[in-house]
């Protein structure tokens, strides 16, 4: 009986903490706007964390940024305007997905290149061993 009680209490923990987060952060009343804000949270990095988006971060600055983005959405700014402004202030590293540009070609295309090199090496190796036989 007691075990069941503990289990229930432990299982309720996530809901308690989720409730606390919602209480601190006022979501936008307009559901469509709130969804848009959430989509933006996922595209923006938490600048004081490593590899976390705003949507996942509990850092103080992330709270401020979520509130800031919500305000901008409520003011009627477009997604692109909001992201562009953040890039001006923080640099492109604030975006979760780096842009495809000449200086990020290595980042985007090196995996393809490495696979290609690998395939060429495999073909060469196979040919080499067949010749040997």
């Amino acid at each position: 009986m007691r075990v069941v009680l503990y289990a229930v209490i432990i299982l309720l923990f996530p809901f308690i903490s989720a409730h606390a987060t919602i209480a601190i952060e006022a979501p936008l009343v307009d559901i469509a706007q709130e969804e848009r804000a959430h989509a933006l949270f996922k595209q923006v990095k938490c600048v004081v964390c490593t590899g976390e988006s705003l949507a996942d971060s509990q850092a103080g600055l992330a709270f401020d940024m979520r509130r800031y983005i919500r305000k901008q959405v409520a003011e009627g700014k477009s997604n692109q305007e909001i992201l562009d402004a953040l890039v001006v202030s923080y640099g492109e590293s604030i975006l979760m997905t780096p842009p495809v540009a000449s200086y990020t070609y290595i980042l985007w295309f090196s995996p393809v290149l490495i696979v290609l090199i690998g395939m060429i090496l495999v073909v060469l190796y196979v040919r080499y061993t067949q010749k040997k036989r």
Binding site: V47, D64, V88, S89, G91, L121, Y128
Partner: protein, 175 residues
């Protein structure tokens, strides 16, 4: 023959990668935390801590270079650099615009009364709106602003004697 070629290619790739990594490791900026940036004039308007005036981006523009300093009474490192800001204001007569981040006016005023006020104007930024526009990651952070109100340099973390003498003052004397 081909096996040798493969070994050569692998070795070559290893050497190239090691070289690239070594270069970037050795050329990492150490000692200073200055970053050359160019953030165009940031549009903002916020109530002043002491008067009924609004502090706006117009206050960043002027004849001379100015500093913008992000601080809060809750920020321990801000206290560490505070004496240096006082020196910059009193001795060098540099205009410092304060951005009071995530603070209450009462706490901020009490803090400034206790430690001195180096700021010519202080914009209240309880929700971090200005701070985010400036691209701030944490307090304290100090910006060098040119006459057009553009942010040219930023120093993350508390200022030090060395940063002021070796970087900040030389940067301010440039045309």
């Amino acid at each position: 023959m081909i096996r040798r070629l493969l070994i050569c290619i692998t070795m070559l790739l290893c050497i190239v990668f090691s070289g690239v990594f070594a270069y970037h490791l050795l050329h990492k900026e150490t000692g200073t935390i200055a970053a050359h940036i160019t953030i165009p004039l940031v549009i903002f308007s916020a109530p002043d801590l002491y008067t009924d005036d609004m502090v706006t981006y117009d206050d960043l523009r002027g004849k001379h270079y100015k500093l913008v300093n992000v601080f809060g009474s809750w920020c321990v490192s801000c206290l560490a650099e505070h004496a240096l800001l006082m020196k910059l204001a009193n001795q060098y007569k540099i205009d410092i615009i304060g951005i009071n981040w995530r603070d209450s006016p009462q706490k901020a005023k009490a803090w400034l009364e206790k430690h001195g006020n180096p700021y010519t104007k202080i914009a209240q930024d309880p929700e971090g709106d200005i701070v985010i526009k400036l691209g701030v990651k944490g307090a304290p952070e100090t910006f060098l602003v040119n006459s057009l109100g553009e942010l040219l340099y930023k120093w993350q973390g508390p200022l030090t004697e060395a940063i002021i003498e070796e970087e900040l003052l030389p940067a301010m004397s440039m045309p």
